[in-house]
């Protein structure tokens, strides 16, 4: 199938790695300017440019070079992407709002990576993503307000609580066939918001203050100074968010490229046949759901600390739907697709007021179009390769 080795894949005479690095720099510069763009016209122009670039470059063989670089130079490329992201954060330096947007995107990305393990790999749709995100955020609120739990541990606690509640929901129904996970998570999503609204200890409809992230004596709500410039305090959160998203990406990618990933795929595609080959279907589902929910909860805890004030309205059923839409749009089981879709779903509505008002309607239409015309999503998942570029001989 792949007769060309990676070093043969060239684009305009350049080796794959060079092309890959150029593309990363180009995307980083574009992203930086896009986050800063203010007029709607400029935003629309840039969106059109990105769409055109995406379509035409795929046809000129650039895409082949990109994937060759990702396969053949996985480590260098990953480091380059992370460095580019950190550079963009520092370039944005003093811009509060773009940094907030970027960090929110990174946290939603983390959530969507988690949902991808549940939905994309295992076939269990989770319609309570925003609720479990909220479980993380409320855990952070309660723990920062009471007692002296180290905030890094609070992130962990958010993940653990989200996973525990997820287990309580899913374990009783996981043996029954059908769309049980959809049903129980919808029910939970609706109940969770009502529960918060009537619960005075958790602030009722008004919500709760959340204390800041602090590590090693550093308060994330104070402004860092870099090269003599005082930066937005969001730089702290953006850096931590980038680290979290990168970690989540790495974990989910390793999971997918392993016997566990194979097990989850098998369970999604044919439960009965799986059981006939000794797979423990219940274990696989519980593991996938827990794994995904940990990521969702950790991201939620950090989100709460960042925005410092949370209310039930931020964790509604519609937000859960948006999170599922990210997975569908990006491509079931596709991590890069999920990352791209998270960017589109979170940033576009913030940039374009027209979209903001109709975003739920718009994304519903987009999801339907994707399901009809490109069911594998924006960046379709590839056949599993357990290690980058691994083809044993």
């Amino acid at each position: 199938m792949q007769n060309k080795t990676n070093s043969d894949v060239r684009w305009m005479g350049m080796p794959a790695l060079a092309v890959g690095l150029i593309v990363i720099v180009a995307i980083a510069l574009f992203g930086w300017q896009f986050l800063l763009a203010e007029s709607e016209l400029a935003v629309l122009g840039m969106v059109a440019l990105a769409a055109m670039a995406g379509v035409t470059l795929g046809k000129t063989g650039l895409q082949a070079s990109m994937s060759a670089a990702m396969r053949g130079h996985a480590r260098s490329m990953n480091i380059a992407i992370l460095l580019a992201l950190v550079s963009v954060i520092f370039l944005l330096g003093q811009e509060h709002f773009p940094l907030l947007m970027l960090t929110t995107t990174l946290l939603y990305m983390t959530v969507a990576f988690g949902l991808n393990v549940q939905f994309g790999l295992t076939g269990m749709v989770n319609f309570a993503g925003a609720s479990f995100f909220g479980v993380g955020a409320y855990t952070a609120a309660v723990l920062t307000n009471h007692g002296a739990v180290p905030p890094l541990l609070i992130l962990v606690a958010g993940g653990v609580l989200s996973a525990l509640i997820g287990c309580l929901l899913i374990v009783p129904v996981v043996r029954t066939a059908g769309h049980y996970s959809a049903v129980v998570t919808i029910a939970f999503s609706v109940m969770f918001k009502t529960f918060l609204e009537v619960n005075d200890v958790l602030g009722g409809p008004q919500g709760l203050m959340v204390g800041p992230m602090k590590t090693f004596g550093w308060d994330f709500n104070s402004s860092p100074v870099f090269l003599g410039l005082e930066m937005s305090f969001y730089v702290n959160y953006a850096l931590l968010g980038a680290g979290l998203a990168a970690l989540a990406f790495m974990f989910v990618q390793r999971l997918e490229r392993s016997w566990i990933g194979l097990t989850l795929d098998s369970v999604r595609l044919d439960e009965t046949a799986s059981a006939c080959f000794g797979l423990n279907v219940v274990r696989a589902k519980v593991l996938a759901f827990t794994f995904g929910n940990v990521l969702v909860g950790v991201a939620g805890a950090l989100y709460g600390m960042m925005i410092s004030f949370i209310a039930p309205n931020s964790f509604s059923f519609s937000d859960s739907l948006l999170m599922v839409a990210i997975v569908l749009l990006g491509g079931m089981g596709s991590l890069w697709g999920t990352a791209l879709a998270a960017v589109i779903v979170v940033i576009l509505p913030e940039k374009l007021q027209i979209i903001q008002e109709y975003r739920f309607l718009l994304f519903s239409v987009v999801v339907i179009l994707v399901l009809l015309f490109r069911p594998e999503g924006l960046i379709p998942r590839k056949v599993r390769s357990y290690f980058p570029n691994w083809r044993p001989e």
């Binding site: 199938m1 974990f251 390793r254 999971l255 392993s258 016997w259 566990i260 194979l262 097990t263 795929d265 098998s266 595609l269 044919d270 009965t272 046949a273 799986s274 059981a275 006939c276 080959f277 000794g278 797979l279 423990n280 593991l287 056949v383 599993r384 390769s385 357990y386 290690f387 691994w390 083809r391 044993p392």
Partner: protein, 258 residues
């Protein structure tokens, strides 16, 4: 150790009012190939499903390799050493040939979370070791197929899919292999190839027992040591192919259906 690997005693299954299988007694010896035949809806697939834990029997017992496996879960049955293919091929079409075969190898895969996430070097050794085994197994059927281990199964023609399904069942080195209409949807030539494949498997794995459900009488005649005929959920005849072919009840069961 007795000669008998598998034994049904008075096995029966009702689906609501439908009596799919009724008082079925059968024995399979080690190394034997048994042909299970009968008109459509006579209970052949049901007997496989009862054996492999997909359904629990309504009556009777299944004994395998000296143990009572009646009503055991599909997982336990696989661990006891029974592997199968399905009448309607049930491969994971988007997954590669290698992945599909590894699903059959599940008992030997280390699926610990820590191992898979953090002991990548050890994982890699396991993946490469099993790759060699899977490739050799596939090469026994088709060397061309063995060169395409990382292609999605969905892109392959029916005969190749059947072969992969058989490999998926064989990789775990079962004691008993159940084949449910392996020639379904195949051309005449493909069916002939498939029979060669099965005989080659038997050559390589001497004491493997096989039960094969087939409508092609040519296949039954060529492959099977013993035949069992079902009609309306009951066993109406058993013995050598010549014996059952000459049996008047068998003839009328088939003529009655056609």
């Amino acid at each position: 150790m007795t000669d008998v690997l598998l034994e049904f005693k008075d096995l029966g299954k009702n689906f609501g009012g439908v009596r799919a299988l009724d008082g079925f007694d059968m024995q399979v010896k080690r190394g034997e190939i048994i042909g299970l035949i009968g008109p459509n809806g006579s209970g052949k697939t049901t007997s496989f499903n009862l054996m492999t834990g997909i359904y629990a029997p309504s009556q009777g017992e299944v004994h395998f390799d000296g143990a009572d496996i009646t009503g055991m879960s599909a997982r336990k049955v696989y661990e006891a050493g029974i592997a199968r293919t399905f009448q309607r091929s049930r491969l994971c079409l988007p997954l590669s040939i290698y992945d599909n075969i590894m699903i059959g190898n599940h008992a030997r895969l280390n699926t610990g979370l820590w191992f898979n996430l953090f002991q990548r070097r050890a994982l890699r050794e396991q993946i490469e070791e099993f790759y060699t085994q899977a490739r050799d197994l596939v090469a026994g059927f088709s060397t061309d197929l063995a060169d395409r281990m990382f292609e999605p199964v969905g892109s392959l023609p029916m005969i190749e899919r059947r072969r992969i399904e058989i490999c998926r069942a064989l990789i775990s080195e079962p004691k008993l292999l159940l084949l449910d209409e392996p020639s379904a949807g195949m051309t005449h030539d493909e069916t002939a190839q498939m029979m060669d494949d099965i005989l080659a498997v038997r050559e390589r794995m001497g004491d493997l027992s096989i039960i094969i459900i087939e409508h092609e009488m040519g296949v039954i005649e060529r492959l099977c040591d013993q035949c069992v005929v079902l009609s309306y959920g009951r066993k109406i005849c058993e013995g050598s192919y010549a014996h059952i072919a000459a049996d008047s009840e068998v003839q009328s069961a088939y003529l009655g259906m056609d």
